[in-house]
Structure formats: C-alpha cells, structure tokens
C-alpha cells in the first residue's frame, strides 16, 4: 500500500527517498538549486528522530557526514557545483577510508559560481574525477520524481553495500520541477542495512580485512572496537603503510569493487529500442526531452528509441555497447559539452556513428533542439 501521494518538487523527492532509506544525519550548507533539500530536511529529519546540522561550509559538511557515518549512521549532504568542488577532498577521503555516504549534487550552470538558477549537466566528469588519484565512484541520476525517490534509496543501498560514497547527480530542472509522487509504503522498496562485524568485544577487529565474499563488515566508531581510519594508504588494521604490495592491493580493491561490477550496478531504462534505427542516449532532465521526441516521432513512423541511463558511474560500457550495436545513428543528449558523449564513443563499436545533441547556455534542451541536430545527422539539412 502506498503511504501517500504528493505533488512535489524533485528536491522533496530526494528528502522523501532519504527518509525512506533511514537517513539519520544530514550536514550541509544550502545552495541553489538544492536548497529545498536542506530546508525540508531541517524540519522533517528531527521529527523523524535524526540530526540536522547547518555547517559553516561544504568542506565541513562532508567531513561531518563522514564522521557520522563512521559511528554507524546513515548520512547525507546536498549541494550544487560550487559546493561540490569544495567537497572533493573529503570525497576522496570517503573513497579511501571506504565510508558509506550519499552526496547529492543538483547541478547548475558552471564553472565557478556560474549561473545559479540555470540548468546544466556539466558536473558529470567532476563526479567521476573531481577528487584526485585513481579511484572508482558510483553516480546515479534520474529524470522524474518516482525515479528520484528510487535512486535516492538506491544511493543509500549501494553506499552501504559497497562502503563507498555515492553521488546523486540531479539538475536544476529535475530538482525544481513539480509532479505527482507516490511514496511507497514500508517494505515496498528494499532498504539495505549496514553489514556490521560479528567480531565480539575484546577480540581484535580488522576494519579493512575482507570476508571471503570481498565485503568489509563495519564496527561503529567509538563503540566496542578500537581501530584507525586514515586517508593514507593503509593495511588491514587501518594503519598507514608505504608497502608497495599493500598500496597495489588497496588500489585494486578500491577500483575493482565497483568497476568490475559496472554491469551489476547499471540502472537504465529503454524505450522503443527493439527496432530503433536511431538511438538516443540520455539521462537526467534531458532524457525527458529525448523521450518526448521519441514518442512524437514514433507516432509518425520513425524508428527511433531511447536508452535512459540512471547509473552514470561506473559507466555501463557493456550495456551501452550492446544498445549501440547495429544502429544507424546514435545521438547522445546532454546539457554539457559532451561529457558522456565521449564515454559512449569509447564504448561503441562504431564511434563514428555517435553524435551529440547538447545545450550549454543555461536553457533547458527541448525536443526541438534535438530534432534540429537529428536533421543534420540524417543528412536532411537544417
């Protein structure tokens, strides 16, 4: 039984999803166009028994989230591009120390403070490579409120399952757009709880010693076990190490645990793809315009389909390769200078058939914008 149906913004769907997933702790610094997440949580999270802190800045916000998570809480922060830039150092720490947490970035125009109220999807590569060093990350996105809710729950589930920060990469249009949201009842959507160690009190606990299945059970920091947490390369006790074998093994573990599961982590939806000669690939709010075009052109007999990606990182290259196979033309639709376009080209067997339909002027891309590019691609002129 659904709990409730509301007419709400995408940012509120994030709040509803986070509370459904069992959010305990939020620390953040409000910024347009993500502000409503902080605003609504400031009221609702304490009511649900959680803690809300407005921090002095975004650096401190993610650091507080990491600390809270280590003590056993489900923790999250939300921001936009400028704040996301400030979070990159702590994001790398969470990757290295394997601390589950969720970072929401409702994208706006950039670089720098850019255009605060304008839509953009320019942080796709920042989500992947914003923090330094070889690493892997999970980034999810969504184009409608039902999916924003589900991907928020999924972000917490994947963070807890794989002990990793998960980035929920939304955009201004999805964040501020209002539509109907049916909030699922308890038990309707799976919620993953943290895997905790079975090592009893008084026995040595190795925070970074993997079980046979590769997972690392956690112990609440400040609880019954004493252990070290560091951003330095560390051994199974969590103590710093300069041993090349330890460094090699750790880096492989950090990257492989996600990159080797890219297809398992791939969340996507396809529309009219079976016989499509033209395939659109899109994500976030841009995917709404892409689907609009697909439905409009299908009604006129054009063989066109859409692959909508909900997982951006790790990039589901095998899935994308499979979907691109045999198509006459592939058109990546996004609101940046082609950040995912390059990934699709790398994945496709015929990269010369992969084109880009984009906008990066703060204006939401429309089905008409996409059609204009498609006309050129199909050799029908402008």
């Amino acid at each position: 039984m659904p709990k409730e149906t509301i007419f709400a913004q995408g940012n509120e769907a994030v709040v509803q999803g986070a509370l459904y997933a069992g959010l305990d702790f939020y620390a953040g610094y409000p910024i347009t166009p993500s502000t409503e997440i902080a605003e609504i949580l400031a009221q609702r999270l304490p009511q649900a028994g959680g803690r809300f802190i407005q921090m002095e800045d975004e650096l401190a916000s993610l650091c507080a989230v990491i600390g809270a998570s280590l003590t056993g809480l489900k923790a999250m922060t939300a921001t936009s591009g400028p704040g996301f830039s400030l979070m990159q150092e702590a994001l790398g720490y969470a990757v290295m120390a394997e601390v589950p947490c969720v970072v929401v970035n409702v994208q706006r125009g950039g670089p720098s403070t850019g255009m605060p109220t304008a839509v953009a999807q320019g942080d796709v590569m920042q989500a992947r490579w914003g923090t330094h060093g070889d690493h892997a990350i999970i980034a999810l996105t969504a184009s409608n409120l039902a999916d924003v809710f589900l991907m928020t729950v999924e972000a917490f589930n994947l963070a807890e399952t794989y002990r990793t920060p998960v980035i929920l990469l939304l955009d201004e249009v999805v964040g501020h757009m209002r539509e109907k949201l049916v909030i699922p009842g308890p038990g309707e959507v799976e919620v993953v709880q943290r895997l905790r160690t079975s090592v009893p009190e008084g026995t040595d606990y190795h925070p970074y010693l993997a079980r046979e299945d590769g997972r690392l059970p956690m112990s609440d920091f400040g609880g019954v076990h004493r252990f070290n947490v560091t951003g330095l390369v560390h051994d199974m006790w969590g103590f710093p190490s300069n041993d090349p074998a330890v460094a090699y093994g750790l880096l492989h573990h950090l990257v492989d645990k996600l990159e080797n599961r890219a297809e398992t982590l791939a969340r996507y939806q396809d529309f009219f793809c079976d016989d499509a000669e033209v395939l659109l690939i899109s994500y976030g709010s841009a995917a709404r315009s892409a689907l609009h075009l697909v439905e409009q052109r299908r009604a006129r007999g054009m063989k066109i389909g859409l692959l909508e990606l909900n997982t951006l990182w790790p990039f589901p290259a095998q899935t994308v390769r499979k979907y691109c196979r045999g198509r006459g033309h592939v058109l990546v639709v996004e609101m940046n200078r082609g950040q995912l376009h390059g990934e699709v080209q790398k994945a496709a067997e015929q990269p010369e058939r992969v084109y880009l339909a984009n906008r990066y002027d703060g204006v939401f891309i429309s089905h008409k914008d996409i059609m204009q590019v498609l006309h050129v691609v199909l050799g029908k002129g402008v």
């Binding site: 007419f7 166009p33 304008a118 839509v119 201004e172 209002r178 703060g362 429309s366 089905h367």
Partner: protein
C-alpha cells in the same frame, strides 16, 4: 483530456508560481490527471517578469516546460509585452484589464477581466489576486472542477485566509461567466 499547456506570467509577489502549483496539484491529486509544473529561472526570465508553466494531460508528460501555450495569463504590462507573442492561434490569452493595456494583435483569443479591481473592491486585499485569476481561468476553460481547485487551495493556504480565498475564487468564476 488531451494535453493542455498553461503559462502564468506577472511580477514577483503576485503569486503566479503559487497559482501554477495549485492548478497542477488540483489536476494531479484531485482529478487523476498528470501534471507537471516548472518555473522559469533561466535567462529568458530576466527582468521583473515571473513565469510559471503547467502542463496537464491524461498522457504521461515528458518535456516539462511550455512551448506555445494553450492558455496564457499576463498579469502585468511587462509580462504581456514579453510573453503575449508566444500564444498560439486558437488559444486563450487572459489579461487583467486594469493592469494590462493590450498593445498588439494576438493570435490567441484575448479576454480582459477586471480581476484586480474586483478583488480590491470586494475583498480589499491584493493577496488573493492570484486565486481570483485561477477562479476566472477555470471558469473560462473548465480545465479542472472548481471543487478540485478549492481542495488544492485549502492544502496551500493558512486556515485564517481561507474565507477570502473562497470569495476570490467565486469572484473569478463570476467574472468568467460574464464574458462567456
């Protein structure tokens, strides 16, 4: 019901965004329709003009913004000057007859209603101007049932103000029936 696209425009503080949210909620929660509401913050909204879009349909709504609205509402001269050109032939353009002087010919059917004046004379509080406008819009278009609109208003307005909002809705309906 096929797809209807509505644009509300005016200046900040007139409640055009609230009006758009109420209409969207009435359609989505009380009429079993799909509705998507967005507001324009982009470069096209620079200056004093505020714009809010609503799309209502029995079908799933993909593109969430409005290109060529079926119904366009302009509550200030500036909004009229800026947006009256986007109306479509056969569409409806609702303006406030006191606040807007129609300057050019429109492709849409233009309806000028003294909404602001009626609100000030009958209620004396401009805060319900937007609700009067919604009453007129629904009276002219039957987009949603008046009961659905009233339920949505009740969920958004503090109880102390419900009475003047109800009066404003009725006032809008009366103005609409005078030109039908």
């Amino acid at each position: 019901m096929e797809t209807t696209r509505i644009v509300f425009s005016g200046s900040g503080g007139q409640g055009v965004i609230t009006a758009a949210i109420i209409l969207g909620e009435a359609a989505a929660l009380h009429e079993g329709l799909n509705a998507v509401q967005t507001q324009s913050y982009g470069p096209e909204a620079r200056g004093g003009a505020t714009r809010a879009d609503v799309v209502i349909s029995q079908h799933p709504i993909r593109y969430p913004k409005v290109i060529s609205p079926h119904v366009l509402v302009c509550l200030t001269q500036e909004a009229y000057n800026k947006y009256s050109g986007i109306g479509r032939p056969g569409g409806l353009l609702i303006i406030d007859s006191q606040l807007v002087t129609p300057a050019k010919k429109s492709d849409a059917r233009q309806v000028a209603l003294p909404m602001y004046q009626a609100v000030m004379e009958a209620i004396g509080n401009p805060v319900v101007f937007n609700i009067c406008m919604l009453g007129a819009l629904v009276g002219l278009t039957s987009l949603v049932k008046p009961e659905s609109l009233w339920r949505a208003v009740q969920s958004k307005i503090p109880p102390a103000f419900l009475e003047i909002n109800q009066r404003a809705l009725e006032l809008g309906g009366e103005l609409a029936s005078s030109v039908r």
